[in-house]
Subunit: 507 residues, 2 copies
Amino acid sequence: MTPTFPGMPRATTTAPKPRISKKEFEARLSPIRQELVQLQVALKNAPFKVLLITAGVSGAGRGETINTLMGWLDPRGVETFAFREPSDEERERPLMWRYWRSLPPRGRLGIYASSWYTETLREEAGGRKALAQLDHELRRIRHFEKLLSDNDTLVIKVWFHLTKSEQRARFRALLADPDTAWRVSEQQRHAHRIYDRLARTAEYIIGETDRPGARWHRIDAADNRSRHLALADTLIRAFRTHVAHLSRTSARANTTQAKALVPLRPAGRKRLLALPLDQEMSEEQYEKKREKWLGRLNRAVRRAAEARRSIVFAFEGSDAAGKGGAIRRLTSAIDARDYRVYPVGKPTDEEQAHHYLWRFWRHIPRDGLVAIFDRSWYGRVLVERVEGFCRPDEWRRAYSELNEFEEQLVDHGTIVVKFWLQISKDEQLRRFRARELTPYKRHKINNEDWRNRRKWDAYEVAVGDMLALTDTPHAPWHLIPANNKRYARLDIIRHACRHISAALEKK
Amino acid sequence: MTPTFPGMPRATTTAPKPRISKKEFEARLSPIRQELVQLQVALKNAPFKVLLITAGVSGAGRGETINTLMGWLDPRGVETFAFREPSDEERERPLMWRYWRSLPPRGRLGIYASSWYTETLREEAGGRKALAQLDHELRRIRHFEKLLSDNDTLVIKVWFHLTKSEQRARFRALLADPDTAWRVSEQQRHAHRIYDRLARTAEYIIGETDRPGARWHRIDAADNRSRHLALADTLIRAFRTHVAHLSRTSARANTTQAKALVPLRPAGRKRLLALPLDQEMSEEQYEKKREKWLGRLNRAVRRAAEARRSIVFAFEGSDAAGKGGAIRRLTSAIDARDYRVYPVGKPTDEEQAHHYLWRFWRHIPRDGLVAIFDRSWYGRVLVERVEGFCRPDEWRRAYSELNEFEEQLVDHGTIVVKFWLQISKDEQLRRFRARELTPYKRHKINNEDWRNRRKWDAYEVAVGDMLALTDTPHAPWHLIPANNKRYARLDIIRHACRHISAALEKK
């Protein structure tokens, strides 16, 4: 692929840039500071957040410029990030977890002194990575930024540029002063020696990740004052463009709501309806088999922990399909210290101020532990689709976002086990009525359950599409016939055992 | 001190306990399970959370009993905790941080397989701690549990007891079976050898931490079935007692509201009023001194980072006292990658579901980093006291809670720097009016500011009490005359410098 970054120099020398005087700087600064104040006031109540990502040539003075910009901003709405060595809590989770946990909520500005590019740039420039590995990482970065920019995030990426001779001049100036000489490290000398290779790498990475919604901007970094002004100016202009873009597009939203219930993939619904539901199983048969399979599951989970593999279970199913009961049988085989169950209901306000996947990322377990989600990230394409809680373009996009999310978990070594518990409409009615009659079960049923039931057909379409579009090799759906509770519980344990054992063989 | 734990055995042997049959077990289990369901339903909407802390003699089968209890509960409302080796993120923060971050929100049950007692018990039994150090830790534990139980937490602590001969019998039984022999570790054999010393230690620790609101309960652990039932029963009874207690006391609340504005310590208010406010400082004087002091502050903060000391700044002051501007001057001396500013406003709903200190604990920085709070934990004794957002007994208790909180930070090595910015009532009026007239400052003033202003005298009383009651040697208040903005900003930087430098000398 050819790099698309505009104006990225191919030559190593260019004409010297004009420097700006202190007087000119101050004249230009005054309106910029006013605009930054306005930006921060507007951002506070804006329906999005801003990430300002910085990267660049070694010695370009990025840290100094970020400090200067921070001095112009009200620091109360800003979070600055610098990722150093990952902590052990970070190392024991998928690569992107540390970036997900850092994301500021809507209405705030995050300034990234280092970011998901830092490691990639450094390792690649050192020639330590195969090209296939680099492309895989770039694909992940593109996906991550698209996911953010598609939702509620303005991603602004800035490359601080120096030509080779400018870099040399800068290092010389630093070395000449005993107070600053220490700042030129051996690593930076090395960066200067391999300037050309670094430039080609950066050009490639920038070209591959310059996308609508997450554009790269180049700043000529040789002159301190113009560099400071340019960063502020880039932020202001990108913000303005984004606000204008939002007001244009908001008029177009919510127009295709009506089509929500036409299946995207009829095959999925067919698979669902073809499932035989009424298996027989006596209490006696069940008890005998259950003990055997619980023992196996216990061993499988312990083997996973020994191999430092985490396990994530997702339970989905209509109301009264028996998710809660199944989870209790499952957990009876796992040491209480090793698992946690997350019931997924209405998001908290902190969760609401983030991307819809954030609330799941925050609960991704450390290596060797187990997380069980009672309802899951699939809410995006089930309840949110059916109830119109998100726009059609949002839930349509979600299928690939969900696949990618799970792929990242699996890539890290996490075992992802997803269950859909299928019951018939009649069976649901029977269970609703039984709940109403049993005093200690009455709290489990409310008006919303009856309301959801009226949308049975719509849910069937949504479930069908989900099964067809997110049944991936790395995280397949286990479809569980659940009219017979005993059978369903046993079937879930069996599937869990086999899935975990197979995953342990593979890696 | 004499241990107060009721029935803690002093002899090493007692008569064997009667075992219960499978039939009796099942007969007793059925009502218990029903009650556990009711408990979980009631807890969901209760105004408190429940922590079930377990500890006990080695080999008493605690893990097994927790698993059994978890099997009886709906795991969706429960979180289980087992603290292993602290992670590096935990090690780089005060001791209690890992426990604070673990606390479940209101309406949930946390079961602690290990807890803040685990390390204390283990190390003390190994004879590795001086008695003074143990007493210091027990004081901290007592304080932590009091703080929780005073607010919205029922703390239930269970000691699983075995006599020395029961322990021996248990280990023998495990060793006899090749499948379980591995469970008797060298550590456990050692525990058996020093049974008597361990028992004395436990007796002492239990005696010192058995307090209203955080009672210890003993379970005779020799028989599996009775042990399981006893744990469930303890939970149920403690829950019931607590609910009854709450309904009795809620009638008594909110009766002494009227007294909120009588000073507890008139000396504090006097000190505040005696402060001269109208210092002179020319622009020129200010700029000269500022550069000098900012340079010093920059060096002090870098020295703290090199010494792996974190710094926590708390800024308090009336509306328009200049907190924001002062924070910006302060941060201009710190690398943007090393600090974060936390504006403290209305708590989020996740924060509201926790103890009032939880929202501050969650932002305590790692070693070497800086957190700046724009308004702070002192809201409890300022706005919450004046506006009646908490009860008089709550804000009265808060002074010692706040002192203890800061002491824990300082004990860990954190440098705690607190500022009160004092302006006169006239100066505030002048600033309010100026804000209304300046277009880009207008967003900073609203009706609430005018409303707060009408309560000036009440705030003066609250601030006076705060200054008198929380001006501790480890975290003194820096009282800043702030009618002159330049003077105030410089004074803050000066105080910060001196405070940090002095703290670095000390440790």
